[in-house]
Amino acid sequence: MNCDIVFLLPLFIVTIGAILLMLLSAFESIRLEVASALSVGIFALAFLVQLVPIGLTDVLPFVSIFNGMLAVSDFTRIASMIIIACGLFTAMSAISYFRQNNFGSLEFFSLMTFAVSGMLLLTMAQELITVFIALETVSLSIYVLVGYNRRNVLSSEAVLKYLILGAFAGGFFAMGIALVYGALGDTGFAAIAASVSRDGLLHNPALAGGLLFILFALFFKVTVFPFHSWVVDVYDGAPIPVTGFMATALKTAIIAVLANVLLLAGDIRESWLDMLFYLTVLTLFAGNLIAIGQNSLKRMLAASGIVHTGYLLIALIAVSGDQFSGSVILYYLAAYAASTLGIFASLSYLSGTDEKRKEFNDFSGLAKVRPYSAAAITIFLLSMAGIPPTAGFMGKLYIIVTAYQGGHVILAVLGIVSSILSMWYYLRLIIAMYFHEADDLFETSGSRSAPVCAFILAICVLALSLYPVAI
């Protein structure tokens, strides 16, 4: 029976939703709230559809579509759910954000929805050209979202840097595809995995070079050291909801691709192991170092995102390819996404007009004025720092235990050490919020949708930790 459409339904819902939003943006009279509500509706629908694992049975955990161009499994299904949820919460925070920052337009929601559709495609893609197209869909939308505030010089600088570097990364990816195709005559992950596990990675210089190009382009997107240099400026310059969106949805999608590429066959991972190991170590420490030195909240979160990527790399190294369920990666991604989105939703609401509150000190004494917001932010920060009883802690624990059981003792230890280092910058905000006096009334004109987001996400962070079996 042909049930491709069932598997791709969420993707089509989101894509067609994006096109409808684009049509909608041709009408000037429509209010932003309508577009936001529509996109929230689209995401909610797609999420619900994705929630039901139709067609995926125990017998058939992995279904390939279009001659193996796409594949659907429980891994892609849950990754898609995380991404869709990210889109949903971003749309909700964005409307709160645009109440206080006067540069929103209808296209924003269309572009964001397009980005989500590209990400959904990324999770399922089993073939380089499809990955490339999906990657372009995502990148292009995100370039624009980053630079959405045209009047802000920082924002413009950020988008310029991101665009130029991203163009290089995209170019590498295309070049990598060409080299891989030249070497193998095929661009499917399955063919690549078969070739590498048969002859080894270095057997053919073109294949090795091409694959490295592709990996580097993906590493660029998830800010692995030394491809991280754009992230702090770009996260800082982008509008807050966009930063949250990039940090969560984009990372989830790319990590899913990396998992698909690296873990497809047990042996292919072995060829990367050394390189991945060193990159992981460097990523963890570069991220921590950069984060410790920051005074701006967004910049700190950007740098801490590098550290989280490091943890995900540990997970990628540690999970065994033979019985790959990816639950360790997914759990961490979900935990991380919930906390990060939560904090950005709170910031969307609290940062005020023109993002005037962005330093650690700007949030001094928040607990006095807005105790509920401060409590929510605390939960998110604790989760990111990996302190119980939050989802972040369980995620880190899960990764460290997996790494350890996989025999990667050094990585497990480094993961722990990095967790200690990271406490410094997460707790700084908590200390500022609770232990300092307020000299600000934290007035905000944002709508209630962002606080609602934060509330839901805070519950998610705790619930994920108490009932992790759900993932």
Partner: protein, 933 residues
């Protein structure tokens, strides 16, 4: 089930005090007090079960993939600790009710206290290592909040941070240790692990495991050299200190030692590490306590010292010593909690804790004074009090160490020395505070007796000290036996809890300690002077702070160095990585660079084309600051690429490339209008040299890799497509069939990307007004004539022709070079020409269409075509096709793929026009608003 509720109750109960706090402090305190009372009642049943020798266990799966389960078990040790945690917790809550100041928020205080209580209960009840760790970190966190409760004070904040940093970091070391332990035993369940002591001790990983676990325990229990956080934590409100540093927080470390005693003890590393650390801490703490002028500082160091004593007892590693350790845990908890509370009363009533000012308080507060003195005597180890009994056991155990050989005299001597110091500081506590003349310059004068209910908790605890000291067998004996049996996980040694053991060596040591201590205290003035001369400025916490500051400065500097936000540097890094990516596999020597295939002959035309292309590319780089020239040379590169496609017989690609080339160059030319026409070079020479090298490396690497491809036999997928294109897709033009059928899904993605690009440009440029570019700050002169009449006429004539060509390409696309994409581009070029020749106003008058809609309908049409095939239960984008005879034109093929192509066509036209219109509007809007002139 009971166990689960005991753990959950404090956590759930923590929600109540903040609510009750609105009704006042009393309400908050009473709701908080209900929690330990209820929990104690709940603990009765499991406690009886433990006495009966059948510990209660509850288990739940939590995160089974990571091996984390929720398993609670209450054996004797856990039961004892539960009694301490809940019992002393209850007293602390009653005490705090009177202690808290007006501006302390009672709701928050009691909520945090209950949170902490829950975490402690969780630790002692855990039967799973990782779960224990969760609660362990929770205690670090909640104690952080408790210590920093008075957040206005700098000391409180710093003390809280330091406590969290040290104990939190220790907790993570503990995690590593637990993981190792789990690896050795294959289980994380504590009750299982306890039975596997021999396997653990024989394992090669035993020493690292032990080290890591001890690191966790020692940081928590403030053992030297990790002790420094505890005195700093004295900035907490006194009830917090009384709770955390008597029965709970610091006891978590020794609890862990007790818990894992059967699994880890009994080796030389254990003896030297645990015993050595304990001894050092015992002596160091006792010594430092003597010289503290702050009442709580003295108690803090004495706590460190007593914890050292307990650790040392575990280190001595005999069953009797373990019993003594458990006994001292109980005793220390009772007398230290009462002492802290007494110190709080004194602070509360006098307004200071400086022992140089609070003198002679006994006549002002006789009841509190008497209680405090009894507790201090217990701390010193005076007979008939509980501290005496465990100290006697300790002294007795110091003699049983064969390991030390001829140095076996050392331990008794050191123990006696510590005993002397303990007596001395206890004497100081009693004498300085309650006697020693009159109070000096008190902030609150005269001091009064504390409220009755503040004294009550102290009295209860001091009463215990007395009763246990006088009637040990009637009171504490069963609990001690129960807990010790759990610690030893085996039979109990024979011991005698009698008050009087006869005139033996331990008693002599006690006597020496007693008189030596009093003597030492009487000589205190000389001693203080000596201490000040010898040990000024060595403060571990200052060292810690300096290290932390260094680290942060280092991090800032490193950030500056590796991440200064320079785009050039980022690009250079990226290229460097790329260069390595292609060159490393070549250098690794695993395979030869060149394959076996010979190089085919090169004809002069191709060679010329290649050289021309290289020259044009170089020229683009060279002229990149003169934008118009650069653009023209760039178009040469593009056109040569078109010729390359032609040379290698790819007419479809050539056509597409040609059309794309024209459109992009045109749009770029339009964009050029807004850019400065030239700018000056800014990079220094060395940087350009570096960039050149990088570019050469990457380019050369790519060239070499391409060489590697071309000299190897290629497997190609062309045959498959060639064979299946006509029968499967109904088209002879394989490229087009691939686009609209085989890989139609990708094409759909591709036109979506186009659509995104268009609205992206629209979203970014909409309502924006840009001034035309300048040349060295001067606006250049553009053409005199705005719209050339000749050009306008020709283009109007060209439009229908171009449209005809577009339709032609569109229709034949399925079987010959052409297709929706090319047709769209050709249409777009024709339309662009109209704009350029006749001006935007005229063109938009002729055709006012919203391009958003065109794009959206295009993508929708393509998607709908694709989805349509599913309605017929065929794979996505399978085309149906048929051949029809039309009059005049001849046979024509209609396929559903053509609808898809139509979608592509609409999108392409819409995108190009939207970009064009947006760009054009930029300058017109400028003129209209006049803002930018």
């Amino acid at each position: 089930m009971n166990l689960l509720f005991i753990v959950l109750l404090p956590f759930a109960g923590a929600l109540l005090p903040p609510l009750a706090g609105r009704l006042g402090r009393e309400a908050a305190a009473w709701t908080a007090a209900i929690v330990p009372v209820l929990a104690l009642l709940l603990a009765l049943e499991p406690l009886l079960a433990a006495f009966a020798g059948a510990p209660m266990t509850v288990g739940r799966a939590w995160l089974p993939q990571a091996g984390v389960d929720l398993i609670l078990r209450m054996d004797g040790l856990a039961g004892l600790f539960i009694l301490l945690i809940l019992g002393i917790g209850l007293l602390i809550i009653l005490y705090a009710n009177y202690y808290l100041a007006e501006d302390d928020s009672p709701g928050r205080f009691f909520a945090l206290l209950l949170l902490f209580m829950g975490a402690m209960v969780g630790i002692v009840l855990s039967d799973h290592l990782l779960q224990l760790l969760v609660f362990w970190e929770l205690t670090s966190l909640s104690s952080f909040l408790l210590i920093g409760f008075r957040h206005r004070s700098v000391e409180a904040r710093q003390g809280a941070k330091m406590a969290l940093a040290v104990t939190g970091a220790g907790g993570l070391a503990l995690l590593a240790g637990f993981l190792l332990l789990g690896r050795i035993t294959g289980s994380y369940q504590i009750s299982t692990i306890l039975g596997m002591g021999d396997i653990i001790r024989a394992h090669p990983l035993y020493v690292p495991t032990l080290l890591l676990i001890l690191l966790g325990a020692f940081t928590k229990s403030a053992q030297f050299p990790f002790h420094f956080w505890l005195p700093q934590a004295m900035a907490a409100p006194t009830p917090v200190s009384a709770y955390l540093h008597s029965a709970t927080m610091v006891k978590a470390g020794v609890f862990l030692l007790a818990r894992l005693f059967p699994a880890l003890s009994g080796t030389d590393p254990w003896f030297f590490l645990v015993g050595g650390t304990g001894l050092l801490t015992l002596v160091y703490g006792a010594y430092s306590a003597l010289f503290k002028h702050d009442l709580k500082g003295l108690l803090a160091y004495s706590t460190i010292s007593h914890l050292g004593l307990i650790v040392l007892l575990f280190g001595i590693d005999t069953p009797l010593a373990a019993v003594a350790a458990v006994f001292h845990i109980i005793n220390h908890a009772t007398f230290k909690a009462s002492l802290f509370m007494a110190a709080g009363i004194i602070d509360h009533e006098t307004g200071t804790r400086d022992m140089r000012r609070i003198n002679g308080l006994w006549k002002y507060m006789p009841i509190s004074g008497t209680l405090a003195m009894v507790a201090a005597a217990a701390m010193a180890g005076v007979p008939l009090l509980n501290g005496f009994m465990s100290k006697e056991m300790f002294f007795a155990e110091t003699f049983h160490l064969a390991v030390l050989g001829s140095f076996s005299w050392f331990l008794p001597v050191a123990a006696t020395g510590a005993g002397i110091l303990a007596v001395a500081y206890s004497a100081r506590f009693i004498h300085d505070v309650f006697f020693n003349g009159e109070p000096v310059n008190l902030p609150k004068y005269p001091p009064h007796e504390a409220p009755r209910y503040m004294i009550l908790p102290v009295a209860v605890l001091v009463g215990q000290c007395l009763i246990v000291g006088v009637f040990p067998t009637l009171t504490v004996a069963p609990f001690l036996a129960l807990a010790s049996a759990a610690v030893l996980n085996g039979p109990l040694p024979a011991y005698n809890l009698a008050v009087w053991h006869g005139f033996n060596a331990p008693f002599i040591m006690s006597l020496v300690a007693m008189f030596g201590g009093i003597l030492l205290y009487s000589r205190r003035h000389a001693l203080f002077a000596l201490h000040d001369r010898l040990f000024w400025g060595i403060e571990a916490h200052l060292l810690y702070r300096r290290v932390v500051h260094r680290l942060i400065d280092g991090a800032r500097m490193a950030t500056e160095a590796i991440d200064n936000g320079s785009l050039q540097r980022s690009v250079a890094l990226l290229l460097l990585a790329a260069g390595l990516a292609v060159l490393l596999p070549l250098a690794s020597g695993d395979s030869a660079l060149a394959g076996d295939l010979p190089i085919s002959a090169v004809d002069p035309v191709t060679l010329l084309g290649a050289l021309l292309m290289m020259a044009a590319a170089l020229a683009t780089v060279f002229f990149h600051r003169q934008r118009l020239i650069a653009l023209i040379v760039l178009s040469v590169v593009g056109l040569l690429a078109v010729l390359t496609f032609v040379r290698f017989s790819a007419p479809d690609l050539a056509l597409t490339q040609l059309a794309v080339e024209v459109v992009t160059i045109m749009l770029l030319l339009l964009a050029l209008y807004f850019l400065p026409q030239q700018d000056r070079p800014e990079s220094p020479g060395w940087r350009r040299g570096r960039d050149l090298l990088l570019a050469l490396a990457v380019g050369g690497g790519c060239g070499l890799v391409t060489w590697a491809i071309l000299t190897r036999p290629a497997t190609t997928i062309a045959d498959y497509y060639l064979a299946n294109s006509l029968p499967g897709g109904g088209g002879a033009n394989v490229v087009n069939v691939i686009l609209v059928d085989f890989r139609g899904f990708d094409t759909l993605g591709e036109i979506t990307v186009l659509a995104i690009a268009a609205i992206a440009i629209y979203a970014l440029l909409d309502r924006l007004c840009l001034a035309p570019g300048t040349l060295y700050g001067v606006r250049p002169r553009w053409a005199f004539e705005r719209h050339s009449l000749v050009l306008a006429q020709i283009t109007r004539f060209l439009l229908p022709l171009a449209l005809m060509v577009a339709i032609y390409f569109f229709l034949r696309g399925h079987n010959a070079p052409g297709g929706g994409f090319i047709a769209g581009l050709i249409t777009a070029i024709a339309l662009i020409l109209q704009y350029m020749a006749s001006g935007i106003t005229w063109t938009q008058m002729q055709w006012h269409q919203h391009f958003h809609k065109v794009i959206a309908w295009g993508v929708l049409l393509a998607a709908a075509t694709g989805l349509g095939s599913w309605l017929f239960d065929r794979p996505f984008l399978t085309s149906a096709f048929g051949h029809y005879d039309l009059p005049l034109i001849g046979e024509i093929e209609l396929a559903t793929a053509m609808l898809f192509d139509l979608g592509v066509y609409l999108t392409v036209v819409g995108v190009v026009m939207l970009i064009l219109a947006t760009l054009a509007l930029l300058s017109r809007r400028c003129v209209e608003t006049g803002r930018c002139n």
